[in-house]
């Protein structure tokens, strides 16, 4: 028996626990459905600060999560999740069975509570209903990871060395660089999904990420910038520039440091009371795609699950009051989520075994489709589209973006700028603040340039834009042909909050909004 957890352990674990999901749960009274997710991660990484190593790690993680739908008279869900260690693998059947028992007791008790509430809450009890999962085709499949340089075979000392050397180089770049932190990590993840319906999905993927956080400061001003490179690939992301930026972590970090130093000399942008013409680059638009396309297109928000946390969606008030089929953007705008694209949001099956497919959100300005789960699809009366994902197997999945993007248009980027007599060019996203149902946003940019007579001019710092979402989308009058996809590593949702990696992309676009700044 192995002495440490590795992704190879999954085969043995699977043979020992798969009958729990099918046969054992059949013996539980009123148990209608069970699924089990099990995940093994093998990862390593390092952090350097101001030219010195700060920390590194080489570790593994094994976790599982259970969902049971059960009840008498009415059905309800119950869940359980746990992180376990190598010493637990010898008795994993017992641990998983106890987890199923917890989830079952919660589901059964929840159903009893629902039935009681339905009987005592009068008219307000009428909407309490059976928990139903929309049907899916049952699959058995195995999906292999894609990488050139296996994350498990990268020597940890190489990761330590690369972060330290880059950090050292940044520290000596300029005396106004006050602080820098460089991180690099690479990991292999293997996920197993088993359901009482017979689904059996075994998916593996590699994941590699680099981060720079840099602060430049002098008497003129200061700038704090951070950004990531990453992809669901191996160590080549860091050392060979196989990523959205087509840069190694070193080159990416030095460029971002240069931006910070340029910006401390730039003037502060002034806010405007009125809308101005704004051209936005693909990196900035990736965050627009995330915040005002992706999030409001998550059906759990539409169905109010996130009212107390990450917010609702302005696109759906009720089942008979929504914007499906209506124009919500200029006819130049098409947007979709596509897990089949490479990037942080790539996967073949979601966390309830639904085959993933492209979900077209906006087709030439018309709102078409939400991302959904089996439960929310059943409520809306549509087919599941494979968008239910958890950050870790011990957590309950949420409806999540995959690779959510604005589609490319057919205009040359240079034309989008040269057609502007007076406007602004926002380059690189920074921080978003979005209103509760995603109907308004303010997003800051790394750099803002004045556009005069079709040419880029003065550089400004600490600026951004704000607009009502629909106004902004309806005012789009140019979409470029320079589509790019970026990694977004830190999307927060749910309770407890789950931080998820996903992809967002876009081309250059032009619209109108108010500038934000001083």
């Amino acid at each position: 028996m192995a002495d440490r957890i590795t992704t190879d352990l999954m085969d043995d674990i699977k043979t020992r626990i798969s009958n729990l999901v099918t046969e054992y749960t059949r013996g539980l009274k009123g148990c209608y459905y069970t699924d089990l997710r099990l995940e093994i991660d093998e990862g390593q990484g390092a952090v350097a600060e101001n030219g010195d190593s700060r920390e590194c790690y080489e570790d593994t993680n094994l976790s599982f999560g259970v969902r049971v739908i059960a009840g008498k008279g009415i059905r309800a869900p119950g869940y359980f999740g746990q992180v376990i260690g190598m010493s637990d693998t010898g008795r994993i059947e017992k641990i998983v069975r106890e987890g199923i028992d917890h989830a079952y007791r919660r589901a059964y008790s929840n159903a009893a509570g629902k039935l009681r509430a339905k009987e005592t809450m009068g008219r307000l009890g009428e909407s309490l209903c059976d928990t139903t999962l929309a049907p899916i085709e049952v699959h058995q499949d195995k999906v292999s990871a894609v990488f050139d340089l296996d994350p498990r075979e990268v020597p940890l000392k190489d990761i330590i060395e690369i972060t330290k050397e880059i950090s050292k180089e940044i520290s000596s770049y300029d005396r106004d660089v006050r602080f820098n932190q460089v991180m690099a990590s690479t990991m292999m993840i293997r996920e197993l999904f088993l359901s009482s319906e017979g689904t059996d999905i075994d998916q593996s993927y590699a994941l590699t990420q680099g981060l720079l956080y840099v602060v430049a400061q002098n008497e003129e001003g200061s700038q704090e910038l951070y950004d990531y490179i990453g992809d669901q690939r191996g160590w080549e992301v860091i050392t060979k520039g196989i990523n959205a930026y087509e840069k190694t972590l070193r080159d990416f970090s030095l460029d971002l440091t240069g931006d910070a130093l340029d910006l401390i000399k730039a003037e502060l942008l002034k806010s405007t009371d009125k809308e101005v013409v704004i051209v936005t680059d693909p990196h900035y638009n990736a965050l627009i795609a995330h915040e005002i396309i992706g999030h409001p297109m998550e059906l759990d928000r539409g169905l109010k699950y996130e009212t107390a946390y990450a917010g609702r969606s302005w696109l759906l008030s009720g089942l008979d009051n929504h914007h499906i089929g209506k124009q919500i953007a200029s006819d130049l705008v098409t947007a979709y989520s596509d897990p089949s694209l490479p990037g942080y949001g790539h996967y073949k099956y979601d966390d309830e075994g639904t085959p993933a497919r492209r979900v077209t959100h906006i087709d030439k300005g018309i709102f078409k489709e939400f991302m959904n789960s089996r439960q929310t699809a059943a409520i809306l009366g549509v087919e599941p589209n494979g968008s239910f994902k958890a950050t870790d197997a011990s957590f309950v999945p949420l409806i999540r973006m995959s690779n959510t993007v604005f589609a490319a248009g057919d205009t040359d980027t240079s034309d989008i700028i040269s057609e502007v007599d007076d406007g602004y060019y926002l380059k690189g996203h920074r921080t978003p603040s979005i209103s509760e149902s995603r109907e308004n946003f303010r997003i800051s940019a790394v750099k803002v340039y004045r556009i005069r007579n079709g040419e880029l001019g003065q550089l400004f710092r600490n600026g951004g834009m704000t607009s009502d979402s629909k106004d902004y989308l309806m005012n789009v009058d140019a979409v470029g042909n320079d589509f790019k996809m970026y990694p977004i590593p830190n999307c927060g949702k749910g309770q407890p909050m789950q931080t998820k990696r996903l992809g967002n992309g876009a081309p250059t676009m032009r619209s109108r909004a108010r500038l934000t700044g001083e």
Binding site: D59, Y79, T431, I434
Partner: protein
């Protein structure tokens, strides 16, 4: 959950084992066991729903080792952990990982030493909360919903009602032992409810919440009922024009600003990284004189209290802002020593830290999991506990309303972020509920949720505080570690913008 005795036995045995290893100059061993139990709520009167949507839990236990190694390249430190195993085998695996993970960090000075202070809290957890059964967890969730629905039923409102939120129970046990002589343990429990009720057709929204550390007298239905009453009270909401307004911030907005901007700026690791709204401003006035802020981890009965930090040191009071002046920072042991030896410290703080050593006492080194729990697998970082927003003022809410005269009462904000890093202090946020116009010193017409954005700078807000209530309410916000004991706060000249004009 693993018992505290087993955790203590694990770290003590582990220490004995590690002391025998030839290349180890020192070590800190932490063992913990945590459970986060939660019933998530989603009730919608106009959409089929489950009511209690997710009764669930996540659990883990294990051991972590931070060790100092003597190597041919000098002294190095490393951290490793092993889940699910408190035996010597688990310790050995964690130590092996720490050895593989060691690096030379010139800023590392030492492991924490035992404090001369003693922990103030003992046996303060609630056994009922530690032993809760699956069925009780589910029932507690239904009680929250019943509280809200009871209010709606009493008033006859039945159209487009939303009730969302959760009841969360956190069970935490931790033991720490080190070669420097630390031998400490802690056991804590926390229960909290956060609920939002809406009448969606009328665009009204109300919040309710409660926190506690024991089951006796804990009434989850009260939070549900409060949220429903507040939703009903904000019917008929109006918009306002873009302008600067005199405002009163309720407990939730004060907490949101504390959590996202002010407390991160008072974290010594952020000062170290040149990222704070208070960079270079220690011993300088950053707020009106009526504002005092301190962190108090050992407050008896308070929701965020712990007996010890995750470094095994006693918790206690750390003064942060006193009568408007920055006087201290939240820190762990690592940063408390790093700042004293930092050649750039005066630039970062504005003063020589060696003149104010007491301002950098390591009372806030924790290993918090997202959503609660003290993790054996995380390195120590700096976290607040109970943040007390205090004042010399003796105002009541009514006094503040009179003082403002005409303005805006802001009861709940959301998505509060520093837009250009913490340093410049620029921030934005949207007002999403529980808010009213103030007319002639009284609460007047409700304000429509999601129609106002705050665009301002934290430095302006802090300097323009005109009054703070004496009473405070323990308040939690989404994904926060700390509980803020938040008063209401009057502030002049806050910049508000009218948004989402074209609805839907």
């Amino acid at each position: 959950m693993v018992s505290i005795d087993e955790l203590r036995k694990g770290v003590r045995q582990g220490l004995g084992f590690i002391k025998g290893a030839g290349d180890i100059l020192g070590a800190e061993i932490v063992a913990s066991s945590n459970a986060n139990l939660l019933t998530r709520l989603n009730y919608t009167s106009h959409i089929p729903c489950n009511g209690v949507e997710e009764p669930k839990s996540t659990e883990s236990y294990g051991v972590g080792v931070q060790a100092i190694f003597k190597t041919t390249d000098g002294i190095k430190t490393g951290f490793g952990s092993e889940p699910g195993d408190l035996s010597l085998n688990g310790i050995r695996k964690a130590l092996d990982k720490a050895r593989r993970n060691m690096v030379y960090d010139p800023a590392f000075r030492s492991l924490p030493h035992p404090s001369t202070e003693k922990p103030l809290l003992r046996e303060y957890h609630d056994q009922r909360l530690m032993d809760i059964k699956d069925e009780e967890l589910v029932t507690l969730g239904w009680r929250v919903l019943e509280g809200a629905i009871g209010v709606f039923n009493d008033t006859g409102v039945s159209e487009k009602i939303i009730i969302g939120g959760d009841l969360t129970l956190i069970q935490e046990r931790i033991a720490v032992a080190s070669t420097t002589g630390i031998d400490a343990y802690d056991e804590s429990s926390l229960i909290m409810v956060s609920v939002t009720s809406m009448i969606e057709g009328e665009n009204t929204k109300g919040s309710g919440w409660t926190t506690g550390i024991c089951m006796d007298n804990f009434c989850p239905e009260d939070a549900g009922a409060e949220s429903a009453r507040n939703a009903l009270a904000t019917r008929g909401g109006q918009r306002i024009d873009d302008s600067e307004y005199n405002v009163i911030l309720g407990s939730q907005p004060v907490t949101d600003l504390m959590n996202n901007i002010i407390i991160p700026s008072l974290n010594l690791s952020m000062i170290d990284a040149y990222s704070s709204a208070f960079l270079g401003r220690m011993r300088k006035k950053v707020a009106a004189e009526n504002l005092t802020i301190f962190d108090s981890g050992a407050l008896p009965g308070a929701s965020g209290s712990k007996s010890i930090t995750c470094e095994g040191l006693p918790t206690g009071r750390t003064d942060l802002i006193e009568k408007g002046m920055v006087v201290g920072f939240l820190t762990d042991h690592y940063y408390s020593l790093k700042i004293l030896a930092d050649e750039e410290a005066k630039r970062k703080l504005g003063v020589d830290p060696n003149d104010y050593k007491e301002a950098f006492a390591p009372r806030n080194g924790f290993r918090f999991e997202t959503g609660g729990g003290r993790s054996y697998s995380r390195r120590v970082s700096i976290s607040p506990t109970n943040v007390i927003v205090d004042t010399t003022d003796e105002f009541t809410t009514e006094d503040l309303l009179q003082k403002v005269g005409n303005g805006i009462y802001i009861g709940r904000i959301w998505y509060t972020y520093p837009m250009n890093g913490l340093g410049p202090g620029d921030f934005t946020s949207t007002i999403i509920g529980d808010s009213y116009l103030i007319k002639n010193g009284k609460l007047s017409t409700p304000i429509q949720p999601n129609t106002i954005r705050i665009n301002d700078n934290i430095n302006n807000l802090l300097m323009n505080i005109t009054g703070i209530t004496r009473d405070k309410r323990p308040t939690l916000i989404w994904a926060a570690d700390e509980v803020v004991y938040a008063p209401e706060m009057a502030i002049k000249g806050v910049k508000l913008s009218n948004i989402a004009v074209q609805e839907g």
